[in-house]
Amino acid sequence: MNSKTKKYAMVIDTRLCVGCGACVAACKMENQVPEGLHRDWIVEQVTGTYPNLSMEIRSERCNHCSNAPCITSCPTGASHRKEGTNIVVVTANKCTGCKACMASCPYNARFVMPDGYVSKCTFCEHRLDEGLDPACAAACPTHAISFGNLHDKMSHVSKLLKVRKYKTIIPEAGTEPNIFYLL
């Protein structure tokens, strides 16, 4: 990707996340995600033994990877990048429901809609066009979710990654994910 494009990223502070699921509910309502399906979810990870415990809570979703296997594995071009950005989107009427993208995604971020096409988080691209944050980031009560453009060195997300320790999930998959977790 050249630097003229926008490189959108989500920076999620695991110190602040309480796992309340507001991101899950906000996304469901905003995007009218059907019964039993969801574009984001919560993971709680406990380490240690009583009484020396620690717990990390993460809000997870599609990582909008810079090296996205779902795009390369899609036979029809339905999975592609939104123009001028790194956002991975699916064109419903090009998707045949073959599930190659689902098999290739290490994050289990995709699901099949009742109508047979594959869907997932879009970083709320329709909201970005209006200058709004994704619904999950706008709803998060603890302000754990920050969103912005990593190509802009002055953006809040760029600054957070400069000053805080962070990690990505399954970096060894080589997908170059764009969801970062502050530790």
Binding site: M29, W41, I42, A139
Partner: protein, 734 residues
């Protein structure tokens, strides 16, 4: 190790050492999607509301696409939620769209509890109630009708029943939840904590949570300010037998033995006083009874507390020093649901006394002075004076209780409990599912059987509706106006709730039900306004705004009249007998209670049994939301948390189902086991509100276990009648 595991494996891993939970992902599919089956894509409209998914009443906006419900978001002007609603508030449309809602008035055909009803018109239902109410008034007097209510619509029924001539108004939220907190603070500071809490968490440097699981309890303002405290690097100290979400954010987690909190609090007091770490000037200026307190905690050292609480003495000292170092910006959080062991008012008071030693009341980062907008009442004729009151009903027990105790009404209803006579003959139940809200379900059912009239006003067919003579279907909060929200806070604010939708089915708004029933009962003069808009506009104009303006803004902020905190260390006169903070309470002494809290040992579980603890899930407001079509997708059952060593002893596997049996041989519905290091080995934990036994709640029926059913033993708080529910023990039926 992190990042080495894919989410698929995550869900498979059992909870020893590493555990995970994925929210959502329920595998069942319904034939139709009740939420998103309306394709109207007209222009987006938004109307103001305040939420009713719990009692915190955050203000928000309801969005529609044309006529189709879309979403709800917080109102930026609101201090209850700072523009960010919780999971439940965001899912409020589920309450409106729930296909299992009560749809039309019902009148009972068979005996109570059989759930055989005939559908009725509103007129028929009102006529039935009005006749019975007249009969009760003539035969027993109007004072023999009681109201249980929960939520904003209850206000209209209070007006109705005050006009009828009774003042017996109970809310389970008092004796079964936060009553001890309010009385503990009234006794110490002359004022309650109230809602939203007056805790200055966003400015605090040290926050002590005793059993409060903020984050899992999602009262928005509390969660948001808690996260601000975490972001500011405040020291968080969590005292809890369970490694709660809040504990996972804490600098210190004290996994206390349940039932011993007072010993820990006394040890902390001992350290503050005897190491001279307390705020001397503040205590000298503003308190009475310091010398008695000092004497009283002379021997309650950390070493004394250690064998009682299982908390290491050095940890008790270190945390006490941390609190002192940060004072006065230290908060011993008063909690919310306080009815645990029966000495709850005293335990809350112990925390209140600690706050006084740290000088946090009235100080920045401690407790601020809230303000509130006073709205005038719409003029009505004077209300009749009841000849008897609830105090007579409960034989003047609990004279320090400022509100009526729900169980007292149950006792006063059951024939034979009170010399063969009963005080109450009629119950109105608004929005409170008493079989889930009160312990000792059998007693509640006994009382229900003895009544002349039971009227239930609710949205869903809950357990209690099955016991009603008349069921009246209320609308959800999204289909109605309600009274203006006026609540305490940093900024005096008011908020408007207006209907975003027309009432579904044949439901009617609470105000409409109360007004029309009043007219049927000849009490129409007490609802003298023609329309609800007229009523609201009258009140709003009195404070310089109008209904029209409120429809545009939803929330209106007013100027404060007084400072938020004191400057210096002199409080103005408090509303206590001495005018000062009562470290030693002469009021308690005069009623024969401990003037300074003392520790008394509680019963331990018998061998093979574990103390049953319960709490909150961020996805639900207990029983009232478990059937919500959105929230039930996030969590549709509860689990029983079991420590690995206990699981091993019983051969329990993570994810298997077991039944629990309590000390009185009551057996629960089957419940999923969650094997986790996050709980002490001497107790088990579950989220309250599940295990519905109401077949009409299709999503909730028999999902998970009902802790309330297992709470057959109640320890009553002698000070205010609180019903403590952490004294039950369970074993496994594998």
């Amino acid at each position: 190790m992190l990042g080495k595991i894919s989410r698929r494996e995550f869900i498979k891993i059992a909870g020893t050492g590493v555990g995970a939970l994925a929210v959502g992902g329920s595998l069942y599919k319904l034939a139709s999607d009740v939420i998103f089956n309306n394709d109207d894509n007209g222009p987006v409209v938004k109307t103001p509301t305040y939420c009713e998914m719990c009692t915190y009443q955050c203000a928000g906006w309801v969005y529609k696409k044309g006529t189709a419900p879309w979403k709800i978001v917080g109102n930026e002007l609101d201090e209850h939620c700072y523009g960010r609603m919780c999971t439940k508030g965001l899912s409020g449309l589920g309450a409106y769209l729930d296909p299992n809602r009560l749809k039309t008035p019902l009148i009972r055909k068979k005996e109570r509890g059989k759930q055989v009803f005939k559908e009725a018109s509103w007129d028929e239902a009102f006529a039935y109630i009005a006749d019975k109410m007249e009969y009760i008034k003539q035969k027993y007097g109007p004072e023999s009708v009681a109201l249980f209510s929960h939520g904003s619509g209850g206000h209209w029924f209070k007006t109705l029943l005050k006009a009828y001539g009774t003042n017996s108004f109970a809310a389970p939220s008092y004796a079964n939840c936060r009553g001890p907190r309010e009385e503990g603070y009234v006794l110490t500071y002359g004022e309650p904590i109230d809602t939203p809490e007056r805790t200055d968490m966003k400015n605090t440097k040290c926050l002590v949570l005793i059993g409060s699981h903020i984050g899992e309890n999602t009262h928005s303002q509390q969660v948001i300010e808690f996260s601000q405290a975490v972001a500011n690097g405040a020291s968080i100290i969590v005292v809890d037998p369970r490694f709660s979400v809040a504990a996972s954010k804490a600098k210190y987690w004290l996994p206390i033995k349940p039932g011993t909190d007072i010993a820990l609090l006394l040890a902390w007091m001992h350290v503050l006083i005897y190491d001279e770490l307390f705020d001397k000037r503040y205590v000298f200026n503003n308190t009475v009874g310091f010398e008695q307190l000092k004497q009283s905690v002379k021997n309650t050292t950390p070493e004394w507390a250690y064998p009682i609480t299982s908390i290491q003495p050095e940890l008790i000292r270190e945390t006490a020093k941390e609190m002192a170092k940060c004072s006065p910006a230290t908060i011993i959080h008063p909690g919310r649901h306080n009815v645990w062991y029966g000495d709850d008012t005293q335990r809350v008071r112990a925390g209140a006394i600690l706050n006084a030693l740290l000088g946090s009341w009235g100080r920045k980062g401690g407790f601020f002075y809230p303000e509130k907008v006073e709205l005038p009442e719409y003029p009505t004729p004077p209300f009749p004076h009841p000849k008897k009151s609830f105090k007579d009903a409960v034989n003047n027990k609990y004279e320090l209780a400022n509100l009526i105790v729900s169980s007292g009404i149950c006792d006063a209803t059951i024939h034979n409990v009170m010399n063969g006579n009963s005080f109450y003959e009629g119950w109105f139940i608004y929005g409170s599912n008493l079989l889930k809200a009160l312990p000792q379900q059998e007693k509640t059912i006994k009382a229900l059987q003895d009544l002349e009239l039971v009227v239930v006003v609710d949205i869903l067919p809950t357990e209690i509706t099955g016991w009603a003579d008349v069921v009246l279907p209320d609308t959800t909060y999204l289909e109605r106006y309600d009274d203006i929200r006026t609540s305490q806070g940093r900024t005096p604010q008011i908020a408007l709730r207006m209907p975003a939708f027309n009432p579904k089915y044949n439901s009617r708004p609470a105000w409409w039900i109360a007004k029309n029933l009043a007219e049927k009962m000849g009490l129409g003069d007490y609802f003298p306004w023609k329309t609800i808009e007229e009523y609201l506009d009258y009140k709003l104009k009195a404070v310089g705004t109008s209904l029209e303006e409120m429809k545009q803004v939803g929330v209106k902020n007013f100027e404060r009249q007084t400072p938020l905190y004191i400057t210096g260390s002199q409080l103005s006169r408090l509303d206590t007998p001495s005018g000062k903070i009562e470290l030693y309470s002469s009021t308690l002494a005069s009623y024969g209670f401990d003037p300074i809290p003392t520790y008394t040992k509680h019963e331990d579980p018998p061998k093979g049994y574990y103390r049953l603890l319960y709490g909150r899930s961020p996805f639900h407001s207990f029983a009232r939301t478990i059937n919500n079509p959105i929230l039930s997708q996030l969590q549709n059952e509860n689990a029983v948390w079991v420590h690995p060593t206990v699981a091993q002893e019983w051969g329990l596997k993570n994810g298997q189902y077991v039944k629990l049996e309590n000390q009185d041989s009551v057996v629960s519905n089957k419940v999923k086991v969650k094997v986790t290091e996050r709980i002490r080995p001497d107790c088990v934990y579950m989220v309250h509100g599940f295990g519905s036994r109401q077949k009409h709640l299709k999503r909730a029926f028999k999902k998970g276990a009902d802790d309330q059913q297992l709470i057959t033993k109640v320890n009553v708080d002698p000070v205010m009648g609180g019903q403590a529910m952490h004294g039950n023990f369970v074993t496994f039926k594998v």
